[in-house]
Symmetry: C2
Subunit: 402 residues, 2 copies
Amino acid sequence: MNQPLEKSTHQQTKANNVQLVLRTIYDHGQISRAQVARLTRLTRVTVSEIVTELIESKLVAEVGRGPSTGGKTPILLSVIDDARHLICLDLEDEVFHGAVINLRGQIKYSCNLSRQDQGGAQAVEMVYELVDSLLAATRQPVLGIGVGVPGLVDSVNGVVRRAVHLDWNDLHLANLLDQRYHLPVHIANDSQAAALAEFTFGKHEQLNNILVVRVGRGIGAGMVLNGRLHYGDNFGAGEIGHMRVVEGGERCRCGNYGCLETVASSRALVRRAQFLLDELPGGRLASPLRRMAARPEDIDTDLLLRAYRAGDRTVRGLIEDVGYYLGMAIAHMVSILNVNQVVLTGSLSRFGDVLVEVIRYQLLRGGLPLLADKVQVSLSTLGKDIVMLGAASLLMGEVGLV
Amino acid sequence: MNQPLEKSTHQQTKANNVQLVLRTIYDHGQISRAQVARLTRLTRVTVSEIVTELIESKLVAEVGRGPSTGGKTPILLSVIDDARHLICLDLEDEVFHGAVINLRGQIKYSCNLSRQDQGGAQAVEMVYELVDSLLAATRQPVLGIGVGVPGLVDSVNGVVRRAVHLDWNDLHLANLLDQRYHLPVHIANDSQAAALAEFTFGKHEQLNNILVVRVGRGIGAGMVLNGRLHYGDNFGAGEIGHMRVVEGGERCRCGNYGCLETVASSRALVRRAQFLLDELPGGRLASPLRRMAARPEDIDTDLLLRAYRAGDRTVRGLIEDVGYYLGMAIAHMVSILNVNQVVLTGSLSRFGDVLVEVIRYQLLRGGLPLLADKVQVSLSTLGKDIVMLGAASLLMGEVGLV
């Protein structure tokens, strides 16, 4: 009984060592075998054996020679960025996005599929369609499929517990994709994926903790704590859109009142702008917005952004309101978690500085000054691909690359 | 160069195996060598060697024989509960508490030292006094000194960054104690220590995440996430006392307005009760409280608890108010972290059910119903020793016992 168990432990050690070596080469860009041995504390013989395997499997290549440190110049190793490709999906509310991503998080190919209100099994078919076209777009070996889904997602079992817009309940999405494509599949909540993307590919100083807040049609957060994505007991960590921030506020689609989403989502913003356009006399709203939108129905987030950039003070005021409530929620997160790095993403983050400014103000008002002082609020530099990059990071995490 | 590094890796493996064996015996109460080998996946020879060492160092003993599983009856091993003692301190606002605790978290000896408003170097002297008397009270080998401190505590470097009441700023407490006693020292924020205590010694089902909220003169939380105490970037995680919960609320000692402590701490509670006694005509406060307190100055938390237990409706209303704001903060924590186990401790937790009831109500109002439904709010069963037990858990964690 003991013998096979001991053996499996040794196999485990071997696999760990392979990951350790690969990760070390990946992190250093270019590195010699001797340096890898020094950093990993493995013997040179072990490192050489593993490197030979990695070269054979075309993950690593010899890319030149480094400076001599006395003897002959050492051969430098590097991970081949396109050695493996990743199929990554972001099942956003209105449009499904897909991309082929390489091991450095570079987008090699991307495509979009308008959802046109499809849900249930039809939405699953659309996912297949997207994956089919992505697989056809790469000739490299594919490491796996990663999917970011808006909703409650059990990342361990690969089940979408609840995604309201897609009308998915307890959908075993990972199984379905695995059966069809015979590839490793990882799925996660979209905001949680975004946090992982920012942690892996964002240009931050070395850090342990990061909060990522997505503000679009819905509001969600993701958090990496002590270097690990925090999922929560039911994979619902970061569901901040339904924190109550207004006593006696309006009814939310969740059934409660005064939720953050009722005052700080893009839907809330558009609704308020429509109300102003409709109700206020022209004089009160003499402004770019009035010129751009003939009727309330013309207003959407893009139009508001244009009006804001054209100097519309009414829109600026509405964004300050969004920042006020968002800042309140972020101040709570920071008070509870003491995380100094907060990153904004999602469609409303395009309003940029005005939002960041109000959030900073709220942080100083709503937390211990000694700690609030240290918090950095910034805008994500990863753009619209953030959720797909998070899906890529999930897959790369499985092979120990991040 | 490689040789010593490989060797140190092997020593590390050896140390890990010793911890693994010790932990397995500890967790199982009584267990045979063969069972340990099966559970740890180590060979019987390795396990036997380690067990011999543990018996020699008097940490483990053979305690009898288990049922036969075919051959001869196996010898059972057990960790000796009093093999090592731990010196644990809780430097609470008004009284310093100390205890000698064994490896099962049993209090073997305890003592209290009234602080009498001493701060700075004098408070350090009082800590020495306490440790001296605790060390004199045990004849067992001492594993180390653990200290829970109210304030901002850098647990990695053993430095009290800021403890306002004690007038300690950047005090290298761990160093001071180490120099004087030559024992391992671990210090932590008191609420963080309480979370660790609840995680280690609380009677909870196996769990990964737990939130512990302490409500006394101040309000603080501690959280174990994914099995690890979450400290935050500046060791300030859980500083929820200064979350803003009342817009336009009263000024807090931190300089901000409407902080949770201004409405839900025992100081806030007492102040409100005093106001009622002072300002309201007798008829409005015909009640146990009126009978018990001749003057506002008579009122403290203990008296309010007696009045509440005697059926005082005014006090009940005040506690409901405390629960309202506390519940708001806890709902925020739960929305952000999706943790299903919330435990209350501290002097106000003695109000028990009424507090829990209002907090539950707030959870349902202030979070996604699907997730809020799953949250359990309970009162700690660890009583006044919770911070010292957390300090014990910190020390035991260092030797791999928890």
